[in-house]
């Protein structure tokens, strides 16, 4: 819907062609700011391929044609080696933490998508007593700040309570429900005309079949948006993961990165940047292929991670 409005009005807004001078000024500003946005990434990649000497001597491009060094691809295996090995599986700790992150992220994406689609369907399509009160409850949970519940949630993970401390349960279960997901998917469910349900009903479909075979395929972009945002949030999650895990081989990759920065990687900037690059790479790949869903998601709900 939003897209159609934009494309209808746009010709009117920009009917006035820009004067060449203005146009060049505009491009200059945009290019400078985009460079500003990208420089830290470029610096990370360049630094991850230097040796320590070139980093300390502030060589921005130590390779030919400006210098005689060679790209230090070996920084990557060296950094992975420094992080150590997982005593349980014998694999490098970095990959263990990457697997942990992948596993936790997968659980949360599947869980959040399921619980959100189900709840959204109930709120959008069904009538039941207490509907508006429960919907307000869901929205209210969005307003409870995370820091307010952080301490009690952590205590709940301890031995005398749920006893989930230092386990995958602590990293996943508390995040399987998402008010944002319910809200966003419900918005999209509501846009589907009611007549479609009546037609499906005549054809003999019940609610569950209608949800799975009609509603979900029709709202795939919204569901994908929810999944993608949860991917980014979980992959980048740090605060909670550090608080409720103790063993290195239970840690998420962001916690591993931080402890590497505090330890071995503190002085070896080139190795620290190699690890950072490996942590960031998967998100960037996913983002490049799916970026339109992000735009759609934040303009529909205006959420901020």
């Amino acid at each position: 819907m939003a897209n159609t409005t934009i494309s209808v009005t746009r010709p009117a807004t920009s009917a006035q062609p820009l004067r060449p001078g203005t146009r060049w000024l505009l491009y200059t500003v945009l290019i400078i700011i985009s460079i500003g946005a990208l420089v830290p990434f470029a610096w990370m990649l360049l630094t991850s391929l230097k040796d320590l000497g070139d980093v300390i001597n502030l060589k921005f491009w130590p390779w030919p044609p400006f210098g005689n060094s060679t790209p230090q691809w070996s920084n990557y295996p060296e950094a992975i080696g420094l992080i150590g090995t997982d005593p349980d599986t014998g694999m490098p700790m970095f990959f263990r933490q990457l697997l942990n992150t992948g596993f936790v992220t997968a659980c949360i994406i599947v869980g959040v998508t399921l619980t959100s689609v189900m709840a959204a369907y109930a709120f959008a399509q069904l009538n039941f007593p207490g509907k508006s009160a429960l919907f307000i409850l869901v929205l209210a949970t969005l307003m409870i700040p995370d820091d307010l519940t952080l301490i009690p949630r952590t205590v709940m993970m301890y031995k005398n309570y749920l006893n989930w401390y230092n386990s995958y349960l602590a990293l996943t279960v508390p995040f399987l429900g998402s008010a944002f997901g319910i809200f966003l998917i419900r918005q999209f469910f509501l846009q589907i005309p009611r007549d479609l349900f009546d037609a499906a009903r005549i054809d003999g479909a019940g609610h569950v079949r209608y949800m799975i075979q009609i509603m979900i395929p029709l709202t795939r972009p919204a569901i994908l948006t929810v999944a993608l945002f949860n991917f980014i949030w979980t992959w980048n999650e740090f605060k909670w993961a550090q608080l409720v895990t103790r063993d290195n081989n239970m840690r998420m990759i962001s916690v591993g990165l931080q402890s590497f920065l505090k330890g071995e990687g503190g002085a070896s900037t080139h190795l620290a940047m190699a690890v950072a690059a490996m942590v960031v790479a998967p998100i960037l790949v996913v983002y490049f292929f799916t970026q339109k869903y992000f735009t759609e998601g934040i303009t529909t709900t205006g959420l901020k991670g």
């Binding site: 807004t13 369907y121 069904l126 039941f128 740090f238």
Partner: protein
């Protein structure tokens, strides 16, 4: 509507009633996973946190100490006041800088130009990147010795700065540089905190810009047409059409940005761990729990800080809400 409903009620057959019952049952079934999770991990913890805050709670409850945690946090020399100050400075610095840059960028990108999607993707990239990783990068860009920020500034003859390692206020630094005297106490937020604000701007500008772009798309083009016919130039169009009609978006974004700064944690933890005047509310709470296992005291701090922050947000809401033209 109501009348028809009343008339229909007696006619409703048993099958219709059992249909409604089935529908309600299905609804509760579909809702229950999400709702149980919210109850267990969002609603219950609020009450449980209140209980914890009344105990000398370390890894478990030691003694019931009533409001002692609260009185300790409210003492004039408690660490809560500087944390509150840092949080509010952080929010006050972030909102105008972030929103102004984002608005200008959105306006530029809304013009008829090439490469729109390249600019959008490039500017949004920092938002999706792991904050631990990007904060680690920035901590090195800010490094007084090997950082490219000081290196670039030296090209313009500017003396190297300590950035994240600087606990002096920016007003003090500015006054020293210009060798003027400041009234005592007028130090300003620390340069370390300002460095974090700059980083935060880098992260969120693309996000804010995306929302501004959506807001711009909703302004009817006819308004611009009409104003042009009346002889309005570019600046007048921006000032008298774009800015007022975008005010709901601006208001919404400022609210979200404030909430975002209150929640800010990962990057501060990675860049300074709360040193040099950057201990914000959420860093303070976390440190009490993570480093000292003071669950009771940390809980009390969380309740106090969020009461204050809630009040600040409501005031902001009231005053800024009046400026919104729909």
């Amino acid at each position: 509507m109501a009348v028809t409903k009343v008339q229909q009620q007696p006619v409703r057959s048993n099958t219709a009633r059992s249909q409604a019952f089935k529908e309600a049952l299905l609804a509760y079934g579909l809702l229950s996973p999400a709702l149980l999770l919210f109850l267990a991990f969002t609603v219950f913890p609020v009450g449980f946190g209140l209980v914890i805050s009344l105990y000398n709670w370390r890894t478990g409850p030691n003694d019931f100490i009533g409001l002692d945690n609260y009185t300790r946090a409210l003492k004039p020399d408690s660490e809560m006041w500087p944390a509150l100050g840092a949080t509010i400075s952080y929010a006050i610095l972030s909102v105008p800088v972030q929103l102004l840059i984002a608005l200008v960028l959105a306006y530029l990108l809304f013009q008829k130009i090439r490469g729109k999607s390249f600019f959008r993707v490039a500017l949004f990239l920092p938002y999706v990147t792991s904050t631990v990783a990007s904060a680690a990068i920035w901590a090195r860009l800010y490094s007084p010795d090997i950082g490219i920020i000081n290196q670039s500034l030296s090209l313009f003859g500017i003396q190297p700065l300590q950035w994240l390692l600087e606990d002096k206020g920016i007003f003090t630094l500015l006054a020293n540089a210009l060798s003027i005297k400041l009234p005592p106490g007028f130090t300003g937020p620390s340069l370390a905190l300002v460095s974090i604000v700059i980083y935060t701007t880098w992260v969120f500008v693309g996000y804010d810009m995306t929302i501004f772009l959506a807001g711009l798309g909703n302004i009817p083009g006819e308004l611009y047409e009409a104003a042009r016919i009346d002889g309005a130039d570019g600046w007048a169009l921006f000032r008298y059409i774009t800015v007022p009609l975008l005010s709901p978006t601006t208001f919404f974004l400022s609210l979200i940005t404030i909430i975002g700064t209150f929640k800010a944690f990962n990057h501060i933890w990675v860049m300074t761990q709360g040193d040099n005047g950057t201990t914000t509310a959420s860093i303070l709470i976390y440190r009490q729990m993570y480093e000292f296992q003071r669950a009771g005291y940390a809980s009390a701090l969380a309740f106090l800080l969020f009461t204050v922050i809630l009040i600040v947000t409501i005031i902001q809401n009231r005053t800024a809400g009046r400026q919104v033209n729909y």
